[in-house]
């Protein structure tokens, strides 16, 4: 999530508003946040203000001043701001990578989790998600991703938010990032009844069909079976299911058999995504146990991707820079890393494929520099 910093006008509790640069008529200011260079009397009546300039007066709404790059915001963005001077972009207008973040909690303990789960009260996130939904109502959006932590842990709120997004935005693809465990419970899946299935995609993390491998990665014994049962139950309710697999030392060698298994027993899955590691959070702490060198994973990834391609199952590679993809499967690599979080190496500047390449996570603690080889123009090495 893109976050900006400044100083708060006073101590105020967090609120959510819709960014405007252009300004609004007085009667339409109560949900809007004005972004301006200096706070003048034109800044009155808004829910809040953001300025690169100095602090305003007592008659101005709550505001954050001295913000360095307010230009990173767009007209229509939805932000949360609070008394610590933090501005979080909850919704970026026009972006296809928007998320509704429901909780920091998770019922898995993945060794490679980039955002380790925290036992925090999800109330604030749920309120923000509801407010975002309120504000984007009636807008035409392309995508909306419901995520966490593990969003299903929000229980009733999860179903409400999913139902609302899917119903109010039939034009959009609503995806749910989940480990799928809770859906192994029949009573739990049943609560999906009435949620339109046509525009909802469940992206379920399954790292292996072998419980020894998956459970070791997910940190919970029995989760492999639950996740798979969950996938069957979701598909049984007519929902599209994508399978997401993080490539690590644990599962790398078995990826081709895994792909075959998917073809044999999950032929209904809408898409399979193999994902490179983000060396952040637990992945960074457990680096020795999880990281695989590009040399080691390249042949495994190649076999796995081709296995699915042959079977006609759509497949993508996420978070793998093009020069680290075996040539046969380069066409399946996507520019998957969010714009605000991807970086390139200095030597990438000369690379002919930079525009199509996902680059690296700016959050990763280390990059496989020695393997990075820019493409000369024409795309041939």
């Amino acid at each position: 999530m893109l976050t900006l910093k400044g100083r708060a006008s006073e101590a105020f509790s967090s609120f959510v508003g819709e960014v405007t640069f252009a300004g609004r008529p007085f009667y339409a200011r109560s949900r809007a946040v004005l972004v301006c260079e200096e706070l003048t009397h034109a800044a009155m009546g808004y829910k809040g203000c953001i300025t690169s300039g100095g602090r305003g007066s007592w008659f101005h709404p709550h505001h954050i001043y001295g913000v360095e790059q307010p230009g990173l915001l767009h007209e229509g963005d939805i932000v949360a701001m609070d008394g610590t001077g933090t501005i979080e972009v909850l919704w970026e207008e026009g972006s296809s990578q928007n998320c509704l973040f429901l909780t920091e909690n998770c019922n898995c303990r993945c060794v490679m989790c980039p955002q380790p789960p925290a036992q925090s009260d999800p109330a604030r996130f749920l309120r923000q998600a509801e407010e975002v939904l309120e504000l984007i109502r009636g807008r035409s959006i392309s995508d909306c991703c419901i995520t966490g932590g593990e969003p299903t842990l929000a229980g009733k709120a999860f179903f409400d938010i999913l139902r609302r997004s899917a119903r109010e935005h039939p034009e959009a693809l609503i995806s749910v990032l989940t480990n799928g465990r809770l859906f192994s419970d029949r009573a739990f899946v049943r609560r999906l009844a009435g949620i339109p299935a046509e525009n909802v995609l469940f992206c379920v993390s399954l790292h292996s069909e072998l419980d020894a491998v998956h459970d070791a990665m997910a940190g919970v014994r029995g989760s492999c079976a639950q996740t798979q049962q969950g996938i069957y139950n979701l598909a049984g309710y007519g929902f599209f299911v994508e399978i997401r697999t993080v490539i690590s030392q644990y599962n790398c060698r078995y990826l081709a058999e895994f792909a075959e298994h998917l073809g044999n027993y999950f032929p209904f899955c809408a898409h399979v995504a193999f994902m490179g590691l983000e060396l952040h959070g637990h992945a960074e702490t457990n680096r020795d146990r999880v990281e695989v060198s590009p040399e080691a994973y390249a042949p495994c990834v190649k076999d796995a991707v081709l296995t699915l391609v042959r079977r006609g199952i759509p497949v993508s590679l996420y978070n793998i820079p093009l020069c680290l993809c075996p040539a046969e499967v380069r066409g399946y690599a996507r520019r998957s890393i969010s714009d605000w979080k991807n970086i390139y190496l200095p030597r990438c500047r000369s690379c002919a494929l930079r525009e199509e390449c996902c680059g690296f996570f700016s959050t990763s603690s280390a990059l496989p520099e020695t393997f990075i080889k820019p493409f000369t123009s024409g795309g041939h090495v």
């Binding site: 072998l210 419980d211 020894a212 058999e257 895994f258 075959e260 027993y265 032929p267």
Partner: protein, 481 residues
């Protein structure tokens, strides 16, 4: 002893000192012999690479047994889903008359003018009524003969009536005309185009091979006329709406390469290398036309390897291998009547004779022509749908399951094979028989063994080719060179 549970599977020790294992729903694995023994004795360590493979292919399960069984069941259900598409293929014998007299003809074709053997329009419409009572949403009507072109008014009337019923019942009907083409007129072919009737014709090979069997009533070869009419049919209907089938005889058995080349030369999409059906006329000519199944298997596999090589340059599937490969490698059901259990006869396909008699398969009808009406399910003029397709067919189904046939019950290929109670009856007087020396078994066992050998040694390109056949996606094979 470790804590894994074995899931149901069948196996065969191979000549290469490993074991081919196939689980209940058709997933397979090759395992070295010693590993296999240890696995059976529950002595395989659970962190062994082979153990992982066995688990991945559902030959065993641990704490995850519930989900493992769920997966097996799901795939099993999918494979048997042809039972839900009950009954999709309906063959109508429009007439027994034919303008040709092929040496292997099974229809005992009556002379060109013996109109005794024509189906009348009333019977045809009754048959259509019955066909539309099948639960399937996609009935397929196939016009057969004799030569249906010689009794054209019944074809046109049937098509019109079926189209009407399909609209009313919201079903999607498709039509196939099985014809030797040699008597085809422009009008007839235009009718096919207007009503979306696909043409399935016969081509046995190049001029020498084709003319050896496919002759007119004066005994003259038909190759030349056939080519003219093929061009006309393609011209009118479009290339993709005209398919051809071949029948292997002793004349072509040693020349399957040439037959393949001929198919390629004529721009066919692929080829179906079919063995001779040893009944009807053909039995009388067995001495000149026939061959042993062992020889067919050998020649078939030789030709298949040739076709595989060809595919490195051009997309050209062999359809029997395509069918078997998709049964081996994909979880989906294949709608081929000959390879089902319970037998496809009556369930996947049914045939309506010119007089309205209904049979579960073509051979059953042939048997009736020889005087034994054992398999006649009834007549569209006198019996209702339930009587034919429920009561009588059920009796046949009871005796047509591989799962209860010896030695199929234990055979490693059971998941991919089929059964044919009619053929069994023809050979032994009984719907069920010991399959050990049955030609049907020799053929399928031999070919499946050959295909598994190919799979075992398949390189990336071979895999691409096999999958391009299964999925029909020619792009899978890189043919840039």
């Amino acid at each position: 002893m470790s804590g894994y549970t074995l899931l149901p599977f069948r196996f065969r020790r191979t000549d290469q000192h490993d074991v081919l294992m196939v689980n209940e729903c058709g997933d397979f694995l090759f395992l070295p012999e010693q590993v296999f023994e240890r696995f059976l004795r529950h002595e395989l360590p659970e962190d062994d690479g082979h153990f992982f493979r066995l688990k991945s292919h559902l030959f065993c399960a641990g704490e995850d047994i519930e989900v493992a069984l769920h997966k097996t069941a799901a795939r099993y259900r999918t494979r048997k889903s042809f039972l839900r598409e009950f009954t999709s293929l309906h063959m109508l014998v429009v007439t027994l008359r034919c303008n040709q007299r092929c040496s292997y003809c099974q229809v005992s074709c009556a002379g060109k003018d013996a109109s005794l053997y024509d189906m009348d329009v009333e019977t045809a419409l009754k048959a259509v009524d019955m066909i539309f009572q099948s639960p399937t949403k996609h009935p397929k009507l196939e016009f057969q003969g004799g030569e249906p072109l010689l009794h054209w008014e019944v074809v046109t009337a049937t098509v019109a009536y079926a189209e009407k019923l399909a609209r009313r019942l919201e079903k999607k009907v498709s039509f196939v005309l099985c014809t030797n083409l040699t008597a085809a007129t422009r009008e007839q072919l235009e009718f096919c185009r207007e009503h979306n009737v696909a043409v399935s014709t016969s081509l046995d090979g190049d001029a020498a091979v084709h003319d050896a069997c496919r002759k007119d009533r004066l005994g003259r070869g038909t190759y030349r006329v056939f080519l003219e009419k093929l061009a006309l049919a393609r011209d009118i209907l479009g290339r993709d709406r005209v398919g051809a089938l071949m029948t292997t005889t002793a004349f072509s058995l040693d020349h399957l390469r040439d037959v393949t080349d001929e198919y390629l030369r004529l721009g066919m999409d692929g080829i179906f290398l079919r063995s001779l059906n040893p009944y009807g006329f053909a039995a009388e000519e067995a001495a000149t036309l026939g061959y042993s199944m062992e020889r067919f298997v050998e020649k078939y596999l030789e030709a298949l390897r040739y076709i595989m090589e060809l595919n490195r340059k051009v997309f050209f599937p062999e359809y029997f291998a395509t069918l078997l490969f998709s049964r081996i490698l994909s979880p989906f059901a294949t709608g081929f009547v000959d390879l089902q259990s319970p037998a496809g006869a009556g369930i996947s396909g049914a045939i309506y004779d010119f007089d309205g008699s209904v049979f579960p398969s073509d051979e059953a009808r042939m048997l009736a022509r020889m005087g034994d009406r054992h398999f006649c399910l009834g007549n569209v003029k006198t019996d209702d749908y339930r009587e034919i397709f429920v009561t009588r067919l059920k009796k046949l189904t009871f005796v047509s399951c591989l799962e209860t046939t010896f030695p199929c019950a234990y055979c490693v290929y059971q998941a991919y094979c089929g059964t044919d109670p009619v053929r069994n009856y023809l050979e032994t007087g009984n719907e069920q028989r010991n399959m050990t020396h049955a030609p049907f078994c020799i053929k399928h066992k031999g070919i499946l063994t050959g295909l598994f050998d190919m799979l075992r040694h398949a390189d990336d390109t071979t895999r691409d080719i096999i999958w391009s056949w299964i999925t029909g996606n020619a792009e899978l094979v890189n043919r840039s060179c």
